[in-house]
Symmetry: C2
Subunit: 239 residues, 2 copies
């Protein structure tokens, strides 16, 4: 089983400090919502965000959207061999059922996330929600998941090929990968401490959705999932 955790993700509702900023109020009014109920988005709130702490790491919900779309719908998810969690910069953990069909349309995704932060789950009345959110630290989440081995992907990590890194996970019953769900900057020290190994797979920063897609494909490849799903023998030696 592979556990994917998007950590310190730039997905949150508008924080109190900027709820009265004109750009935020205007955008909220246009959407017919209260400022504190809309998702912080640099595309619309850039000026309001200038004085926000950790500003460069925040307000990019599209990163979570694309990364989830890159993970859901993969053969690994279809085989129920993938678990997905989103940890947010504001200290929430979002539990994503790997069978959820996430909206492809960005505005519908944003609407769904707004509903999630109001009700704590989506659909709001369901006893088995497809997505739910809880106030929780990444440390608490990791204790709950309790993976045998955890890799975190960062430019500061040990240089190695992705194949080499993922090969350390495939013999584990439950292994985890942590990918940053933010646009710039580094993981906090607390986050880095939660992984067994920090990995660098390219000299330049790659997009979160690119890293996510590659991790899942490499894991599938190393457990021979394509061959098993296609019912063909392996033709190449990967020993």
């Amino acid at each position: 089983l592979l556990v994917l955790i998007l950590a310190e993700s730039a997905l949150e509702t508008v924080p109190k400090e900027i709820a009265t900023h004109p750009a935020v109020k205007k955008h909220a009014r246009r959407r017919g919502k209260k400022p504190l109920q809309i998702i912080l988005d640099r595309s619309y709130h850039h000026r309001a965000m200038l004085n926000l702490p950790d500003s460069e790491k925040r307000g990019r919900p599209d990163i979570v959207h694309f990364s989830l779309l890159s993970a859901l719908g993969t053969p690994l998810a279809k085989e129920k061999l993938l678990e997905i969690y989103v940890h947010t910069i504001a200290g929430y953990v979002i539990y994503v059922n790997p069978e959820v069909r996430l909206p492809r349309n960005y505005l519908r995704f944003i609407g769904l996330m707004e509903q999630l932060f109001i009700h704590g789950k989506v659909p709001p009345e369901s006893p088995n929600p497809l997505i739910r959110a809880e106030k929780k630290t990444l440390k608490e989440l990791m204790d709950e998941i309790n993976p045998e081995y955890t890799l975190i992907f960062t430019r500061e990590g040990k240089i190695q090929s992705l194949e080499n890194a993922i090969s350390k996970l495939t013999d584990k019953t439950k292994a985890a990968v942590i990918v940053g769900g933010f646009p710039h900057g580094n993981f906090s020290e607390e986050t880095l401490k939660l992984a067994d190994e920090a990995v660098c797979i390219d000299p330049e920063t790659l997009e979160a959705w690119t890293v996510t897609a590659r991790i899942i494909y490499e894991y599938e490849r190393l457990i021979w999932l394509p061959e098993r799903r296609l019912k063909i023998g392996g033709l190449n030696d990967r020993s």
Copy 2:
């Protein structure tokens, strides 16, 4: 060199047949544009699209958006070893400079595409546009590119692992892959005829952006690009 072609893509302006439909007119008015100048989008024009020919293959610009975001910004693109073209269902070819920084925000991407279909290029006044569009068939594009070998990815193709398929491309000076830029249905017969080989890499249909991301990563892997960029020796035997 790898050439990526998103073919028969569900990206087009609203077609004449439905330009006067109330749902389309309302959406165009809200955006302050003429109906024929807005991008067809199933999220907003679903009811108007019901009687459109090939309706199930159309109105999904998000597929092109995500697929391009999955291709741009990869190490292969950064090394200038990737060329990208989008062929659309309405018979246009979009030339994408692999160094373009595409908007992550969906509405900005849509705005950019609307500008592209009006002016034929973006930025409109540039002698070296980052994106340009021409009325052109996929056959004409393939004659222009003239790749040594072309794979097309479809459930109807020959069952094989992606690794096996891509290994046929890496010794070519210029090889091409065709991925469907539409949500449902099959490639037309004319499109299928343009490839040397049709490939099936999973028993279920995968999203275009997932196939795109995997092709690029597998190609990088097989030409040892990660090791070369990281300046490390290969540790695994892939002979």
